[in-house]
């Protein structure tokens, strides 16, 4: 059985006739080509499929596609600015060396974005708690925590001054 869903995807109004059994993850990847949304487990354990829905991070693999009707969804593709430049969080992940294989990174960045939206200057402990639903096997998480701290500092200043804030590790 199919159902029509209308929603906002990365700022654009879209619609789709979707099989009611499909997950949001499947719809985003297959019907909208949002391959930045990754599947690491498919059952809500790893966070690789994280997307932001109406200001909350959600594991899109255990969120039915039809539930998105009338809502706003942001994927990693919607974090990059319109002109292709990077969001300060993305830039901070690069500068802090937080990217290795990269498979967990879209989910990590979306969770970080959500964290910083409601807690602009989190402690390392708060970052560790808030991002604990996103798993990474490559990094040991340290540089991801560094990246979120760096992003917090950069988001705290005017856009033109951000690039001048270098990566230094604080613990």
């Amino acid at each position: 059985m199919k159902q029509l869903v209308n929603f906002t995807l990365n700022g654009e109004t879209v619609s789709c006739e979707v099989d009611v059994r499909k997950s949001l993850l499947e719809m985003l990847r297959e019907d909208f080509g949002m391959t930045g949304v990754k599947e690491g487990c498919g059952v809500g354990e790893c966070g690789a499929c994280s997307v932001i829905i109406d200001g909350q991070t959600v594991d899109s693999c255990i969120y039915l596609a039809v539930w998105i009707d009338g809502k706003q969804a942001t994927t990693i593709e919607g974090v990059t600015h319109e002109d292709g430049t990077l969001d300060p969080i993305q830039a901070s992940f690069i500068d802090a060396g937080a990217v290795q294989c990269g498979f967990c990174i879209p989910g990590m960045i979306l969770s970080s974005k959500q964290l910083l939206a409601h807690n602009p200057s989190p402690t390392r402990g708060e970052i560790r708690r808030e991002l604990s639903g996103n798993m990474c096997r490559c990094t040991g998480y340290q540089k991801i925590v560094d990246a979120v701290q760096l992003a917090a500092k950069r988001l705290d200043v005017e856009p033109h001054a951000r690039a001048a804030i270098p990566f230094t590790i604080e613990k």
Binding site: G40, G42, E45, A91, D95, V99, C101, R137
Partner: protein, 771 residues
């Protein structure tokens, strides 16, 4: 004119932008028209034989294109291990498996497959296949599989699939001389790689009528060969491409799903077929780190000098040989790399059982060996009442030791520096004293450490070849083709830094590719053994030196200057003495494309065969809190100290170290795949298999004792795997320091620690707790 150093700089990894944008395409991200989907039917017993399949209902399920039984595809036995092919038949990996099988040797064995229009339809149809089994006894441990009446898991082959013995001197004599003898039985769990991207492959017949496979593999060239062997195809008729890959850690150094994916596409007349494993399949039915049991016996004098080391190893292979005895036997040549003792004996065997097949995993047998060795060594130090760092300082091999097993002089072997540096940087003495003071009746504190030695790449035990190819592009940049495989570790970035450094151009002037292609990239055996920046480094250096020479020759001819006067610095050909500009690399290369009279493409190739090895070393220091009321161990701090020669990229290097430390800390504390008595995996998901989350780990400290290795292509030696060796035993030794109990197994779960502590409290003698 000063050359800008590129080696040693924290250059940004070239692929990071694509990855933070979600733009990086992994195997499952490519749009492929008319893609069919396959799923594997998994055995629901661990040992037996499929007598009969009933596929009538499955065939009628919506979307099903074909139900595939073992008889439908080639049945040539093949080996999956990602080792280079061996021209000597006796030295080849054991060819003991088929793509699909009626002989069930592990729970989840691949007994049939379904091809359907969608993955969901294939999955639904699987449940409709009915299977009748003959059920055989299940052997979970080497002990059970070695029992005299045990059935052969592979008919005609003893369940002990490999044995080895190395040593020197006379251990019995050594024990006779010793003041003390310490015996320890130590065991390690089944660890799984848990790369975030599951195994996935797509295969089809390409327009040249050959067989194309897109796969998440660490070893594209080996993958091509194994696909061809399993399918009975000439090797040239297979082409493998590897795009971005979401981690491998050795699991993708086994060619697990690709041969079957190609076989299924061949059954479909070459239509594209995708086979993607689920997380549950990837954890339970691919490869694991071997569970190995060690019996150590060490003789020591009162002054701390060791007289003899005896180590007996039993490695649990699981149902198929995969990397086989290469893993369990490896440790034998590394005890002597680290420690002196006049008498050494190392005996090992690897045994088929019916648990999941073990293969390569980061460190390749060394995390197991180092765990066991470093527990035993530490217990010896405790026995004679010596500081554990001092004990290791007294007994480690000196710089320049000639390792007779590795046929290598351990040049620039800096373990002493690591131990000295570790003591100081970790504040060992202070933390040790504080641990005793902080201890209360319920919370105990302790510190512990462990050391290791590790080779770089596999010489002299195996083939070490690599290739590189450079093409000068019209704007003065260079396309670098390498067979070495980027799997997230950053090899591509390190190798690009090397090319830039040798050429005299900026890092940005080197262009890499996310795709490794067996048709166009030079031969390299792939990502394993901490070999790529070492062996691959020589190839890149050779290709870059040739390119530099070509550029200088061209400039010398064009500008009529003797070549020996010229150098390339910062993208310019200059006079070596004073840096005066002759021509920019850009203008020089542009002319090589379009100058009517002299245009001639600038390309260089290099292939190297490396016959040397540089030994890396290091140590870990850990501080723990143990809650004896619950058995919970909290890791308060962990430091790794590394002797890895020149650090090519400090940001990437520390990232590698942190990830590996986390993997080893979790090996010591939480991780382990467990099986029911019937051999069924019980925790093959990310909730019950305790992969550490961000909250489970402290900040990880690391120190590099940086030198320039005299052999490494850029002064570098192994780093990718070395940090997985010593954290787990350092944590175990810290727990011992905290609670006074020498626990003989990992992971140190609350249950294990609680029982060990309370059992020791109840026993007067104490001693090692075997729980």
């Amino acid at each position: 004119m000063d050359k800008k150093k590129i080696i040693g700089q924290a250059e940004q990894r070239w692929d990071a932008i694509a990855k933070v944008k979600g733009q990086a395409s992994y195997t499952g991200d490519f749009p492929i028209r008319n893609l069919l989907h396959a799923k594997i039917l998994r055995a629901t017993i661990a040992h037996g034989y499929v007598k009969h399949y009933d596929i009538t209902e499955a065939e009628k399920m919506p979307g099903v294109v074909k139900v595939v039984l073992p008889e439908d595809i080639p049945a040539t036995p093949y080996a999956t291990a990602g080792h280079p092919w061996n021209l000597t038949p006796e030295k080849r990996d054991i060819e003991d498996r088929n793509m699909l099988t009626r002989h069930v040797r592990v729970y989840g064995d691949d007994i049939a497959a379904i091809i359907a229009k969608t993955e969901f339809q294939a999955q639904k149809a699987l449940a409709k296949i009915k299977v009748d089994y003959d059920v055989y006894p299940v052997y979970l441990t080497p002990e059970a599989a070695m029992a005299p009446d045990a059935k052969q898991i592979h008919e005609g082959h003893d369940n002990v699939l490999g044995r080895s013995k190395v040593g020197y001197g006379d251990v019995e004599q050594g024990f006779n001389e010793a003041d003390f003898i310490v015996k320890r039985h130590l065991s390690t769990p089944v660890q799984q790689h848990l790369h975030l991207e599951n195994q996935i492959a797509v295969a089809y017949q390409s327009d040249d009528q050959r067989w194309f496979c897109l796969s998440s593999t660490q070893i594209p060239h080996i993958c091509r060969r194994i696909i061809a062997q399993a399918n009975g195809l000439p090797w040239s008729q297979v082409r493998v491409k590897k795009p971005f890959i979401g981690g491998g850690f050795g699991n993708k150094q086994d060619v697990i799903i690709e041969p079957l994916t190609v076989a299924l596409s061949r059954l479909m007349g070459g239509k594209p077929v995708q086979l993607a494993l689920t997380r549950e399949e990837s954890i339970a039915y691919t490869r694991t780190r071997h569970a190995i049991d060690f019996d150590f016996k060490i003789g020591v004098m009162k002054d701390g000098r060791m007289t003899a080391i005896d180590c007996d190893v039993v490695s649990n292979q699981g149902g198929y040989a995969s990397h086989g005895h290469a893993v369990g036997g490896k440790g034998g040549t590394f005890i002597n790399a680290l420690y002196r003792a006049d008498n050494l004996r190392f005996t090992a065997k690897t045994v088929y059982t019916n648990i999941g097949t073990a293969g390569a995993m980061r460190g390749y047998g060394m995390p197991q060996l180092v765990y066991a060795l470093e527990c035993a060594i530490d217990d010896v130090a405790t026995q004679i009442g010596m500081d554990p760092i001092q004990f290791r300082q007294l007994n480690h091999q000196p710089d320049g030791y000639y390792n007779q097993f590795g046929k290598t002089k351990q040049r620039d072997f800096r373990i002493e520096d690591c131990l000295v540096k570790g003591r100081e940087a970790f504040n060992w003495d202070q933390k040790l004293a504080q641990a005793q003071q902080k201890t209360t009746s319920t919370k105990k504190y302790g510190v512990g450490m462990a050391a290791f030695a590790f080779g770089t790449a596999v010489w002299p035990f195996g083939l070490e070849v690599a290739g590189a190819h450079l093409i000068a592009l019209p704007d003065g940049t260079f396309k670098l083709h390498i067979g070495a495989t980027e799997i997230g570790q950053g090899a591509d970035t390190a190798l690009s830094q090397m090319a830039a450094d040798t050429l005299g151009v900026s890092f940005e002037a080197i262009i890499r590719d996310s795709m490794t292609d067996t048709d166009t990239d030079p031969f390299d055996t792939g990502a394993y053994a901490s070999r790529q920046s070492y062996v691959g480094g020589y190839a890149v250096k050779a290709a870059a030196e040739k390119m530099k020479q070509k550029l200088i020759e061209r400039a010398a001819t064009t500008y009529d200057i003797r070549p020996e006067f010229l150098d390339i610095v910062a993208n310019q050909v200059v006079y070596a003495t004073d840096g005066d500009l002759v021509v920019t690399v850009k203008d020089l290369v542009m002319a090589s494309y379009y100058d009517l009279a002299t245009a001639k493409a600038l390309e260089t190739h290099a292939s190297v065969n490396i016959h040397n090895n540089s030994y890396a070393s290091g140590c870990s220091l850990a501080e723990v809190e143990v809650d004896v009321a619950t058995g919970q161990v909290t890791l308060l701090s962990l430091m790794n100290v590394h002797d890895s020669g020149k650090i090519i990229n400090p940001l990437l290097a520390s990232g590698q170290v942190e990830g590996a430390m986390a993997m080893s800390a979790a090996y010591g504390l939480n991780e382990g795949l467990v099986y029911s008595a019937e051999g069924r995996p019980l925790n093959n998901n990310m909730l019950d298999y305790k992969l550490p989350t961000m909250m489970d780990l402290p900040d990880l400290d690391k120190v590099f004792v940086e030198t320039v290795d005299p052999l490494g292509p850029y002064g570098n030696k192994a780093l990718g795997e070395t940090p997985t060796c010593s954290p787990a035993p350092a944590i175990r030794n810290a727990v011992k320091n905290a609670i006074g109990v020498e626990i003989g197994k990992i992971p140190l779960t609350p249950e294990v620690v609680y029982q060990a502590y309370h059992q020791a409290q109840a026993t007067v003698e104490g001693g090692i707790a075997d729980v």
